[in-house]
């Protein structure tokens, strides 16, 4: 006979309850980058808006940066690590394929036996995690979900590749997603387009690398102009859709936190969205570089810590990158 299986019930509303980030200690100037590529400080600033970026030192591992960012997020959320039911880590640069890094981070934080796993959605991974975490809390699968975006892209960037060497950087950001009295996380708009998989990708598969006479670490490659076009214009449509799904317009926004891919994309998107002048736009890329999955929590936390944004502000997150994949949602800042 078919038994009657109980249905899980979760919270009516969810929110980001706390946020934290970790910036690696080493500041890397454009001049240092230009020792390996034929470029200049001025060229890099004009094309990307990047003035300097952070590279992790050897001891600043994916795990260490994640744990530091998470401790701040958990403390600000006002919960204990033991209350976390699930740890989601968005990363493409934890260079140990098995097991995932999430269980190690969970264990170090004291969240064991929380469910813990990594997701591979590149630059859009953090927003995927926020949406998934929110849905878990809504469905009763978890009460508190820790979502981490972390990268050590300097490990998988070719310092001599003129198209990417000046862009990618390292860092971590984390948020705690949990139940709330009013809605704090709007519906996620997400998707992927595998027909454009080769626009941003690892240059060689691990198997191909192993078969080379002189094996070299595979590194990231990007076809800049098509990516710029897709990100600036197609993604503005996705951002509008996320606003629409949340029942809001740009006039309701206090803060715009797009993935910190390139200042020129941020500017073009802001123009395409026709953001009102009083909307604060995250421009963390100027001093942090493009940290892929870590860029949105790093940028949002920077605005909160500087006072440019405040708790309770309505913010639009939109992330996009390799896949090509994307995800966006409107949130209330913690």
């Amino acid at each position: 006979m078919t038994a009657s299986i109980a249905t899980a019930h979760g919270a009516a509303h969810t929110a980001i309850l706390g946020i934290g980030s970790y910036r690696p200690s080493r500041v890397v100037s454009n001049d240092e980058i230009c020792r390996h590529i034929d470029s200049s400080d001025e060229w890099i600033r004009t094309r990307s808006g990047i003035i300097e970026r952070r590279f992790a030192e050897p001891h600043e591992t994916v795990q260490l940066m994640s744990v530091e960012a998470s401790r701040t997020a958990i403390e600000r959320a006002g919960i204990a690590a033991a209350q976390i039911d699930c740890v989601i880590v968005a990363t493409v640069s934890h260079l140990m394929q098995t097991p995932a890094v999430a269980p190690l981070i969970s264990e170090e934080l004291g969240a064991t036996p929380a469910a813990a796993f990594d997701i591979s959605a590149a630059c859009s991974g953090f927003c995927h995690g926020v949406g998934m975490g929110s849905d878990m809390v809504r469905c009763g699968t978890a009460k508190y979900v820790l979502v981490i975006g972390v990268e050590r892209l300097s490990d998988i960037t070719d310092p001599t590749d003129r198209g990417t060497a000046f862009i990618f950087a390292d860092g971590a950001g984390a948020v705690v997603v949990g139940p709330a009295d009013v809605e704090g996380i709007g519906p996620m708009v997400w998707g992927a387009d595998g027909s454009k998989f080769d626009l941003i990708r690892q240059n060689e598969t691990w198997i191909d690398v192993l078969n080379m006479e002189h094996a070299e670490m595979p590194t990231l490659r990007m076809d800049g102009n098509p990516v710029f076009r897709w990100a600036s214009y197609e993604m503005a449509k996705i951002a509008n859709e996320a606003l629409d799904r949340a029942g809001l317009t740009v006039d309701d926004l206090d803060v715009f936190v797009p993935h910190q891919a390139n200042m020129r994309i941020i500017d073009a998107m802001a123009r395409a969205l026709k953001l009102p002048d009083d909307v604060v736009i995250a421009r963390d890329i100027s001093h942090q570089g493009n940290t892929s999955a870590a860029s949105i929590p790093l940028a949002a936390n920077a605005l909160l810590e500087s006072g440019e944004a405040k708790s309770g502000d309505t913010a639009l997150f939109i992330a996009f990158g390799a896949g090509l994949s994307y995800a966006a949602q409107v949130v209330t800042l913690p």
Binding site: R47, G224, N225, P226, F228, R229, S232, R264, A268
Partner: protein, 82 residues
């Protein structure tokens, strides 16, 4: 159907809007990169604005062939007549 001069003039306004280049400098024989200092990312913005303004499609693969203002004007003319 727009004339060559109408397309050049419309394109000149777009280049002015995107890259701040005086519209009168945007002449058929000028190279976007060498003469007008329009970098590759600005070129993408020009192309997207031109698609909307002229009601044509300019795929990524064709953008790299548009070296001069004349190339772009001819491309738009052909696309409009297609």
């Amino acid at each position: 159907m727009a004339s060559t001069e109408e397309i050049r003039s419309g394109l000149a306004d777009i280049v002015n809007d995107v890259a701040g280049i005086p519209a009168e400098d945007v002449q058929l024989d000028k190279s976007f990169t060498d003469d007008l200092d329009v970098d590759s990312l600005s070129m993408v913005e020009v192309v997207v604005a031109a698609e909307e303004h002229f009601g044509v499609k300019i795929p990524d693969d064709d953008v790299k062939n548009l070296k001069t203002v004349g190339d772009a004007v001819a491309y738009i003319e052909n696309a409009q007549n297609a």
